[in-house]
Symmetry: C2
Subunit: 326 residues, 2 copies
């Protein structure tokens, strides 16, 4: 039985992070209007969401700023100009920094000069030392810091244990379980949660969950993790996110019983902003090509290409991704 | 940890029932072409599916045969004319009979004169005696018989226990947990499974699961139930079914490890028949109105009407279904 098994009470320590601008930005190259971003911010405040991720802080010397909206770079100036200094709300702001794709020594200044509260460092298991250096850097600048270890379904348990021990020895606040390929079932989430919480408890830190919906498991895996003691939940409006998308925030807010959360502002934002976005042609969400890439534990890039090309020959797609010729 | 926790082995006793024609028929008033039905039948055989439900056997004196396709009535003659006598395959055929909507004493003949193998009796908790009479009748005619106790999320545990004891005292083979409103979470499925299997074990019978996808939980609840020892799984192609739809059979076949199941014929049928059906305007599947009706444990009829009317004012819908005025 899970800790939340009564389904009536709640755990104060749970935090919800809205990743719509960041993971959702992968669906429209981060071209969100200022009006959209402001309305999202207000919806999150009213809904009781704990963190709003305003995008990546990608290296402008690496990515063409003409080809992406500003939330791929999320400079302090841009955040301030659209959302203000955010000093009067209960909502905290976060950005994501990818190991190897963020010029953090130049682009992350002191917390006292930034509206950002939380810096999230995304890494694979083979770049942990650089990840730890970024965590130390951001911590020294005064931020809350979390770490996403991506593609956990492709990593061996010994590597995961080694990575957890290295990262938790920094001052990081939280490490996320990230099912990048949407290939995990709840039972696997339970086992992985046990490993993560073993290390988190040892170091007095927290664990989070970032799920993808390839097998229609994003929400199910998220509440499995919550039942297993995981406290930080990533979610997005209408599940907007790369490929099959993420765990829908409307499901999460509907599930959680803490009275600080309110679903009405969530569905209001969906009605006024998300549905028009989707009707306007921005594509994400579950479909059979994502089921297959999740089932075979593959990066969704082939499934995303299949979707973009408007293909309907799913049997050929199946044969392509299961080919053993290479 | 669940019984299937290794996720590598399999349980011989698991059976998959394709309910596409029956629950899916609720989306198009059962107007499937003969070609569709024949191709579905072949796909099920190739995929290793155990049962194919060919529709309801509704009372023709109660429903207008001009307003529905023939799979609402699924006469032995119609089944024989389209699928033949089905004596050479490993696939069994089933029909569903609703308590109070099936003229069973006239319309169910001896098994020896019918291509049907399994008769499924659908009941609410307040019509158990009539349900038991139908089970006895069908058993005496020589069929396998299962029972769906609908809307379990609205029934008290004492009523459920009483119903299980009454029904399992008949010669029924299996009783299904039916989450008609798609309102249950996996933890609740686990608790309900414990109650059902307690009675099933006492009487040496089986338990099944029929899930709806209102909260994107149909597949998650199904594999939770499998892990809890439930053996009979209802699923449909692309999750086709009333409102938010059912557990997708492609997810189930992808999840199960018994080598008798094959996903390729499933996705082939989806490519050739299901996607054109959906592209042709037949509507089903998860959307936010179904999330809300599931969240509030309501029959999906209001959400289905909202969908049919093409409404987009989800905030008004929210206020309508949460109104306390009546």
């Amino acid at each position: 039985m899970k800790e939340l098994s009564a389904l009536m009470g709640y755990r104060e320590s749970i935090k919800v992070l809205d990743a719509t601008l960041r993971d959702g930005g992968l669906c429209n190259d981060f071209f969100f209007t200022d009006e959209f971003v402001k309305a999202l911010y207000k919806a999150n405040i009213r809904a009781g969401v704990d963190y709003m991720e305003v995008g990546y802080r990608a290296d402008k010397t690496m990515f063409d700023t003409d080809k992406f909206g500003r939330w791929k770079f999320s400079s302090d100036e841009d955040i301030l100009s659209v959302l203000g200094d955010n000093k009067e709300t209960g909502l905290k702001l976060s950005i994501m920094t990818d190991v190897g794709r963020c010029n953090y020594k130049e682009d992350i200044r002191n917390k006292s000069e930034s509206p950002v509260d939380l810096i999230r460092v995304a890494t694979y298991v083979h770049t942990i030392p650089e990840c730890c250096a970024m965590i130390d850097y951001a911590k020294n600048k005064g931020y809350e810091v979390s770490c996403n270890i991506m593609a956990v379904s492709n990593a061996g348990e010994k590597d995961i244990r080694c990575a957890l021990d290295m990262i938790f020895r920094t001052d990081v606040d939280c490490i996320y379980i990230v099912d990048s390929f949407g290939s995990l079932y709840p039972e696997q989430i339970q086992r992985i949660s046990d490993v993560y919480t073993e290390y988190a408890n040892k170091y007095g830190k927290s664990v989070g969950i970032h799920a993808h919906n390839n097998q229609q498991m994003a929400f199910a895996n998220t509440i499995e993790a919550v039942g297993d003691g995981i406290d930080w939940i990533d979610a997005t409006y209408l599940g907007m996110g790369r490929g099959a998308g993420n765990c829908p925030i409307e499901n999460v807010i509907g599930f959680l019983r803490n009275p600080k959360y309110n679903i009405y502002p969530v569905i209001k934002f969906i009605e006024e902003y998300m549905e028009p976005l989707r009707a306007g042609g921005v594509k994400w969400g579950y479909d059979i090509q994502y089921l297959l890439s999740g089932l075979f534990n593959l990066h969704p890039r082939d499934a995303i290409r299949y979707s973009k090309e408007g293909r309907t020959d799913i049997t050929n797609f199946y044969k392509e991704i299961t080919s053993n010729d290479n």
